[in-house]
Symmetry: C2
Subunit: 363 residues, 2 copies
């Protein structure tokens, strides 16, 4: 992949063009009269009852909500007056979210919550990064529909953003993800994902690293590598295997459709993968999303979450992987996260992981 072309939007936001071999982006000036950006659009607040940070981003209430296709801000805008991507065409683009939950980089952002008065409220600036990644200029379609080379370009863009953001001051965790489908609240139909640079370790990641640390103390090995080996040995929940990757429904799956995709070799994030491994990753990832759409013969609403880690310190035992999940529990019914899940984090699954894996294998 050649280096992306850098561009700047009317309100100063970064825009990056990632191009397929032989293609050259031709951006035009962004002529939209955009309001200046709020340098600190959000606040972090620490929930002392759970030990978790919450992002309070109050001005996002008016963000773009289900625009008609002809007003899609993610389609190419050759006039420079209609779109977040002022250009006649593009392959893959990444730009800063116009309505970010996190913005700005600050090295002195102290989020330690240890030594405080027993009754104080703890907050911090909402620094970090929220980016949008458009998978294709085509308003319809999905990641699963991309040609192989195009899917690889998206993955290369993820790798580029991961390397860049991990190097920024105050970014603790880089999270590439996709929300797909109105059923989970997606307000823009154009195929796209998002990339967050969190200024703290997210609660689920922190919990997983705690488990991995305890496992290493007890057994002297990496938790995720041991579990991957166990899934491969048992076999009943395997969905797909390639030279470099293994996909399985986890033993204790929480979602009606859930698949985890691990590289067979322990790495921390996308930047550690060889070109061969990255190629394989793009192919198997796309393959899994294709199976998702065939479960109910309709586009499946899903969330795709890339779990990435730094290679040292508290994140040293992290193991790069993707967690794919859907709330659709049958062709016509959704799984809702009601009080047991939402208030107590106690998940109740309606299907056995083994039956879901068998179904996904045969698709």
């Amino acid at each position: 992949m050649s280096a992306p072309i850098r561009w700047t939007l009317a309100d100063g936001r970064d825009l990056l063009f990632f191009a397929l071999p032989g293609r050259a982006p031709v951006p035009v000036a962004d002529l939209r009269p955009l309001s200046p950006r709020d340098p600190e659009p959000s606040q972090l607040r620490f929930d002392r009852t759970t030990g978790q940070w919450v992002i309070i981003a109050a001005q996002r209430q008016d963000r773009t909500y289900k625009p008609p296709a002809e007003a899609c801000p993610l389609c190419p805008g050759p006039s420079g007056e209609t779109s977040e991507v002022p250009a006649p065409d593009y392959d893959v683009v990444v730009f800063e979210n116009r309505f970010p939950s996190l913005a700005g980089f600050r090295r002195d952002n102290d989020r330690s919550a240890g030594e405080t008065a027993p009754n104080s409220f703890i907050s911090a600036p909402g620094n970090g990064r929220c980016e949008v990644i458009c998978f294709s200029a085509d308003h319809t379609g999905s990641f699963a529909d991309l040609p192989a080379a195009h899917a690889l370009l998206v993955v290369q863009a993820w790798r580029h953003r991961t390397a860049d953001l991990l190097g920024r001051a105050g970014v603790e965790q880089v999270f590439c993800f996709e929300n797909r489908g109105e059923e989970i609240g997606v307000t823009l139909a154009h195929p796209h994902g998002q990339i967050y640079g969190y200024p703290y370790l997210t609660p689920r990641t922190a919990a997983m690293l705690d488990q991995a640390r305890a496992h290493r103390v007890t057994h002297g090995t990496n938790l995720f590598a041991d579990l991957l080996a166990a899934e491969r040995a048992e076999g009943t929940r395997i969905v797909a295997q390639t030279d470099h990757f293994t996909a399985f429904v986890p033993f204790a799956a929480r979602w009606p459709v859930e698949v985890h995709l691990y590289p067979n070799r322990w790495v921390h994030n996308l930047t550690d993968l060889t070109d061969d491994e990255l190629d394989d990753f793009a192919a198997v990832y796309r393959n899994l999303l294709g199976r998702f759409d065939r479960i109910y013969d309709a586009p499946l609403p899903y969330m795709a979450a890339l779990h990435q880690y730094r290679s040292d310190g508290a994140q040293a035992d992290g193991y790069f992987h993707v967690e794919l999940m859907s709330i659709k529990r049958s062709a016509t019914k959704l799984k809702f996260l009601a009080a047991s899940e939402s208030a107590m984090d106690a998940f109740i699954a309606d299907v056995t992981p083994e039956s879901v894996a068998a179904r996904l294998r045969e698709l």
Copy 2:
């Protein structure tokens, strides 16, 4: 409150009638040809990557789904042939869920996950209890609409169930809750709640108790009492105060509408409240739900979660309280739990807790 009348449904499930003063239930035989119950309808599986139990309850897929009002299984069934409540009328009833996620009590249920091989899969029988509580025989209406004495009867029934289930073998935590509204997946419109007896500490409760233990080590005091005092001192997020209770939007609220209700006196669960306090609790709880329905001038979809604790051991620092939350972020829009929340537990709130508190105060 007089002792409830005990009854047995056709498949052997318990049914309890709680009656208003001067009223006497007149149940009839349950004549429905119900299938025998599965004694172990689910399995617990331990997610070693997060340290959390997941309930796999695969036969609930066919549970009752949005029946028409005339076929409502929670309305009184005087013939004994149509309803979960075979009686011409009732005030408040509690019965075992016909499609339970947890069932049966077992003292030898060992769920310790400590000393295991590094790559083993850990599971346990899905023991515990799932009960349904019908707030009223009236198919329409809601908790907020109940007369004061009737709301108190519901709260008394919660207290009864809490005392009973805390005494059962293998029940670690008693969770009284209500899911209200189709938007969060409620499939029966009849006003009702649920009561779970979990065989493990739910993940959110465990996280809160960890925080409370660390707080006591550092400060020597109860975390929740300190935070309640801080909220009362600051005042900006208070929604309602009575002699015995304080309701506030928490400093780090995760949901578009969220209110926590604490007794001013530290207790562990409903069974610790005096009759005066229970009276006050029913009144302020009903008052809060009334405010909820006035926010958007329409019935608000909500979840109500009673956080209850045992008074000793690992739960000794627990502080009884209710967490009320709604996913409705405006009159027309819902907050969806997409990848940041669902995959990483990283919540992003679209409104400031202070603005929500101000709105709820004035309603």
